[in-house]
Every structure is written in structure tokens, then in C-alpha cells.
Amino acid sequence: MNPLQKLDEMAGSLAPGMSAGIKGPGLGAASPSMGVGGAMRAEFSSFLNKAVTEVEGKMRAAEVEKQKVLTGETNNLHQATIAASEAGLAFSLMVEVRNKLVESYQEMIRMQV
């Protein structure tokens, strides 16, 4: 299974729990909030998917530029390095977002019941 998908589900299931806590105590409040969680999950998953696809696209573009330089098709060394650093930045942003998600999950786990 895709680890990012797992993360995404985790984030989706964290949110309804929070809204249930705000609405009122007891288990009864948890069931109506499931619908909200589902909608949110779909939205978040599409957002995450888009972001990951974009990062992958940047990496592919950087790879193509690198190939072009190595095979002597162009001599634009700077374009290859710029594309590579852009891909690297996009990847670090993705990792940063993932770290934040894991951090919030762990924060939830540590919560006293």
C-alpha cells in the first residue's frame, strides 16, 4: 500500500474525531461527523495526490534535462541544475508536509484519555 495514502487516511480520520470532541461528549456524536470526515478525506486525498504528481513531474523534467546535457543534445548545464534544484525543493516541501502530518498524528497518540 502507498504510505502516502495511509497518511492521508490517517489525516482524514483524525479530523472527524476532533469535530466530535467539539460537538459534545459521548460516542453518539461520533457517527454524524463521519460524513463530514469522508468528504474531507476525499478533498485532502485529491490535494495530496495533485501535490505528489506535481513533484514527480518536476523530477521527471529534471531527469529529461539531465539526459539532454549528458547525451550532448544541448549544452545548457544551468538549465539542468536549475531543474534539479527545483525538483529537490519540491521534494523537500513534500517531506516537510509529511513530517508535519506524522507529528500531528503522534501528538494525538500521546493524548491522555
Partner: protein, 135 residues
């Protein structure tokens, strides 16, 4: 999603400066070429830049190489009767390439290249710094 701000203009400028350096190299290489393809002595080439629209923002301007034109200034004339390209009067028309001018051009092109590289480096380090906001 574009993290490196202004990178399009910088990338175009780097290419343009590279072309300028190529042309300087060509001029230096042909400093003593007395027979160009058109028959006469080599004429030094000059590069002109022009701005382009780059990116979605209408105010943003990139740069590209415009025209590479020949310098029509006459070069010096040497008296060398034995030279294969000498005229009947023994005079040889030399190219109009002047080494000091070419060296200064080379220096200015490479400094401009470096300046654009620091812009690229700077915008990358800014983006990296922005990533540390959440930490």
C-alpha cells in the same frame, strides 16, 4: 507551483551570456584569419540582447540573444608580400579583432554570468529558508 522566483529570466540570461562568451571565443580564435567564408578577412562578431515576455506575469521580462552582427570597421593592413592572401601590392588585410577588446568582453560576460548564478543561488536559499518556517 514555482518555488524559484524569477528563475525564468535568470535562465534566459545565463543562456544569453553563454552565447556571448561563445562569440568572444570565436573572435579570439579567428584573430588572424585572413580568409573568411565570404573571401575577405574575418570580421569580429557582436552579440545584441533583446528582452522577451517570460512567464504569466506581463511585467516580467526575460532576455534572449537578438542579433549576431559583424563589425564593419576595417582591420589593420600589413605589408607582407610573401603572404598567400596578399594583394598585388603586397598588402594583407587583417581581421578587425583587437585582443584587449575581446578580453574585456570576455571578462564582462563571465562576470554577468556569475551575477546571474548568484541570483539563482539566492532564490534557492530563500526557498530553503522558507521551508524551515514550520520547524
Amino acid at each position: 507551483m514555482n518555488f524559484l522566483t524569477g528563475i525564468n529570466a535568470t535562465s534566459g540570461a545565463l543562456s544569453a551570456e553563454q552565447t556571448r562568451m561563445d562569440i568572444v571565443a570565436q573572435n579570439i580564435a579567428n584573430a588572424y584569419t585572413t580568409k573568411d567564408i565570404d573571401g575577405g578577412p574575418y570580421k569580429r562578431r557582436m552579440v545584441t540582447f533583446e528582452s522577451t515576455l517570460s512567464g504569466v506575469n506581463k511585467a516580467e521580462r526575460g532576455v534572449r540573444v537578438g542579433k549576431i552582427s559583424a563589425d564593419q570597421k576595417p582591420g589593420e593592413v600589413l605589408y607582407q608580400p610573401g603572404h598567400p592572401h596578399a594583394g598585388p601590392d603586397g598588402l594583407v588585410q587583417m581581421p578587425n579583432v583587437q585582443m584587449p577588446v575581446e578580453m574585456v568582453d570576455l571578462m564582462s560576460a563571465s562576470r554577468a554570468y556569475e551575477a546571474n548564478l548568484s541570483v539563482a543561488r539566492n532564490s534557492r536559499s530563500l526557498a530553503l529558508k522558507a521551508l524551515t518556517i514550520g520547524k
